[in-house]
């Protein structure tokens, strides 16, 4: 259990290829491994969404390549409705777990947090390595579902019982594929629990001299709060997945009711509660939204002042808001279940905190806007993605006000309104946070600058693209366009078809634009201009050490911190800012 000696003294730089690049204990390597895993996952998830969008727009046309990939479930390239559901399930699962959780939290958090608090590594480097490889195994187990005879599951990323619990009778993919899903997510939970444990212990115990809690950078605060949320959330999802897998392979009846007939077969189970799964799942599921987005809050709050050359407005308020969001996130899960047969009193009890949680979220947004108000903003790509983050978070957040009310949600819940809402507020916003973090920390991670011109094209085209995809979905939802259908070829839905075609073109375009990002990522890594120690004139500790940092970050010494991370607009020896480890006194410019 004890790894403190390793953590305190740091571990020696490994020499072999395996220990250096594969089974590394170095938090920086592990952070990059998480980001690489997320990159593979996001490309996989994006291709799946392309298949879905193509079929939605042109239900009678062959989807390119798909016929060869899945000759059974997409004969001639035209997918069956079950295949559509399988793609939807895998898209959602891959994106939520292996992209939105791993990249902003485990990826950037691993790389940056120990340096920002002045530590040589994470508190438990071996657990940290295990955390990544366990997550990697979880991803491979999930992908294995593509290669089993019945294909991937069709239960959606929420895997609602009882269909997710009964086996192959529930449809193609609901045999081994669904079991692999449950096993994969259970393994994933273990990986994230190990990660959360590390983040909490590192933040509490390995802060360097002078790094009081209130001097921690906002990104570190966000990762810390996220790890507390994750610790609780994944501790509940893990039992839920174990019980689900036991229902499937152990013959138990936790979630399967008595007398259930599926595919004309009476299921040999009795007395289980499908609602129990929903409660356990959403007790994790709603905080998961904040696990995805709070690191984005931290990244934006860390980056914006550096480019606004102004201190972040209300730093203590921001931290209080993040705590409030974290706490309230555990009181709102029932709003995902308004349509599951909920007592109206219970619905109100879940609706009220859902509306209250919008207050700290709104305050945070105002703090960002207040920070850039009147500032001479340096329009770097990272700054643009931060502004884009605020924009899509507000756009998606506003539709949340509607959905928080049971009476309105009853109409909108099963429609594209919800698809547009959560893609904006959780998906695209978190992705913009990831992009901002990448453009900001890439010079530190690889010692080379990314190309700003390509970066700006990447931002503007992506920004326009995501609005073209997800904003129309809100109108589709208001018009009653149901979600989860593989095609809209019948009567009243036909009118929505042109908008679906438009969204599909926008999705293909936005996806293609990401080639700019990939090119920039690879080209800059080898050919970009050499990065100085502190290219952005930022204040936190990662900008005091070489780019890329040495194995033990600070070269066998622990830095001493004298200031908070928010000292912009000051008169310092290096310019209009004062580094956290600079002993000079503050003087406002």
């Amino acid at each position: 259990m004890d790894q403190s000696a390793t953590a305190g003294a740091g571990h020696h730089a490994p020499q072999s290829f395996l220990r250096k690049h594969v089974f590394s204990l170095d938090h920086k390597v592990i952070g990059k491994q998480y980001l690489d895993l997320a990159l593979v996952a996001v490309l996989t998830g994006m291709v799946l969404s392309w298949f879905m969008r193509f079929h939605l727009a042109f239900p009678n046309a062959a989807v390119p390549v798909l016929g060869a990939l899945a000759p059974k479930s997409a004969a001639g390239g035209i997918m069956t409705p079950e295949m559509y559901l399988a793609l939807m399930t895998m898209h959602g699962t891959i994106m939520v777990f292996f992209v939105l959780t791993t990249a902003p939290f485990a990826g950037f958090g691993n790389y940056v947090l120990p340096i920002q608090v002045g530590a040589e590594d994470m508190a438990f480097p071996r657990f940290n390595m295990m955390s990544f490889w366990v997550t990697c195994v979880a991803f491979l187990v999930l992908l294995a579902a593509f290669f089993v005879p019945d294909g991937p599951p069709i239960a959606g990323w929420t895997a609602y019982a009882p269909l997710s619990a009964v086996g192959i009778d529930a449809g193609p993919g609901m045999g081994l594929g669904m079991t692999l899903w449950g096993v994969s997510i259970a393994i994933f939970c273990v990986g994230q629990l190990l990660g959360s444990l590390n983040f909490i212990a590192t933040t509490l115990d390995l802060r360097t001299k002078g790094m009081s809690l209130m001097r921690m950078p906002f990104s570190t605060w966000a990762w810390f709060i996220t790890s507390v949320i994750g610790l609780i959330a994944f501790s509940v999802l893990l039992p839920a997945c174990i019980l689900l897998v036991l229902d499937r392979v152990g013959g138990t009846s936790f979630f399967i009711p008595a007398g259930l007939v599926i595919s004309d077969k009476l299921q040999p189970h009795s007395g289980g509660s499908p609602m129990l799964w929903q409660h356990l799942f959403w007790f994790f599921g709603h905080p998961e939204v904040y696990i995805a987005i709070l690191p984005g809050f931290g990244i934006v709050s860390h980056i914006l002042p550096a480019f606004a050359r102004k201190p972040l407005l209300g730093p203590k308020v921001l931290i209080a808001c993040m705590f409030a969001i974290g706490g309230l996130s555990y009181t709102v899960w029932g709003h995902h279940m308004f349509l599951s047969g909920m007592n109206p009193v219970s619905a109100t009890l879940f609706s009220v905190p859902t509306l209250i949680i919008t207050i700290p979220a709104t305050v945070t947004t105002l703090l960002w806007i207040g920070t850039v108000y009147g500032a001479r903003l340096r329009f770097t790509t990272a700054a643009l993605f931060c502004l884009g983050f605020v924009s899509v978070f507000v756009s998606g957040g506003i539709s949340g006000f509607f959905l928080a009310q049971p009476s309105i949600d009853t109409y909108l819940h099963g429609t594209y309104f919800v698809v547009g809402h959560f893609h904006f507020v959780m998906g695209v916003a978190a992705m913009f946070g990831i992009f901002a973090g990448t453009y900001f920390w890439f010079p530190k991670m690889y010692g080379r600058m990314m190309n700003e011109t390509i970066g700006k094209w990447h931002f503007f085209l992506t920004f326009v693209g995501v609005y073209c995809i997800f904003m129309p979905m809100h109108y589709l939802g208001l018009a009653g366009n149901v979600r989860r259908y593989s095609a809209f070829t019948d009567d009243y839905m036909l009118a929505s078809q042109p908008l679906h075609v438009f969204i599909t073109y926008a999705a293909l375009f936005t996806g293609a634009v990401q080639v700019l990002f990939l090119f920039n990522l690879v080209w800059s890594r080898f050919k970009g201009p050499v990065a100085p120690v502190n290219p952005w004139e930022a204040t936190s500790l990662e900008w005091t050490i070489p780019s890329p940092p040495p194995h033990n970050n600070f070269g066998d010494v622990h830095p001493v911190v004298y200031h908070g991370p928010n000292e912009y607009g000051m008169k310092g020896s290096t310019g209009d800012y004062v580094m956290q480890n600079s002993p000079e006194k503050l003087e406002t410019t």
Binding site: M1, F124, L197, A201, D205, L231, S253, G271, L280, D556
Partner: protein, 190 residues
């Protein structure tokens, strides 16, 4: 710019164990709430007699917490070789009692199986096996931690060994408390 060549003062292993305890507590809270919901979901809950060996196992586990605490205090006595030796003996005893507890749990499972009560027999037996098997797995984690601490103490009772032993002890005592809680739930609900 000033820098110091000292290691940070705090010991993360203890924080790590506390965080782990929080996660395990949350996890068993989820199982307990699942039990309560499942029991009220349908009238198919069957009561059965808990195997008596469980109570002996409980005594054993609580006693092992006592021997561990004695061991920890003796090992911590600075420069006392005799105390270190008896501390090590007590540590081995604790490890043995922990393994005996798991063996006792296996006896309890075999007892139930002999009565025809398996994992899938009914919701009450399902929860019994889930609770007891998961607790035993967590306890085996504690056995590994105690083994690591034991090895470090044998190598010399320095700060590193004492820190490992302190963290492992905290986890072990929690395992005992968790088991008492689970036994209470099982006694009431089974």
């Amino acid at each position: 710019m000033e820098a110091v060549r000292s290691a940070p003062p705090s010991i993360p292993s203890r924080t790590g164990v506390w965080v782990g305890i929080a996660a395990i507590t949350m996890s068993f809270a989820a199982y307990t709430s699942a039990l309560l919901v499942r029991q009220s979901a349908a009238p198919d809950w069957q009561h059965f007699q808990l195997p008596p060996v469980l109570y002996w196992n409980t005594v054993l586990l609580l006693a092992s917490s006592g021997t561990l605490e004695l061991a920890r205090r003796r090992v911590a006595r600075d420069g006392d070789a005799a105390a270190l030796r008896s501390g090590l003996m007590l540590l081995w005893l604790t490890l043995g009692m922990g393994l005996l507890f798991v063996a006792g749990q296996v006896v309890a499972w075999r007892d139930l199986m002999a009565q025809g009560l398996f994992l899938a027999t009914g919701p009450s037996t399902s929860f019994f096996y889930v609770f007891t098997v998961l607790h035993a797995l967590h306890l085996l984690g504690g056995v590994v931690a105690l083994g690591v601490a034991n090895r470090r103490v044998q190598a010399g009772a320095g700060v590193r060994a004492l820190s490992a032993l302190g963290s492992a002890s905290l986890y072990w005592h929690f395992m005992g408390a968790l088991w008492v809680y689970l036994l209470l739930v099982l006694t009431i609900k089974m």
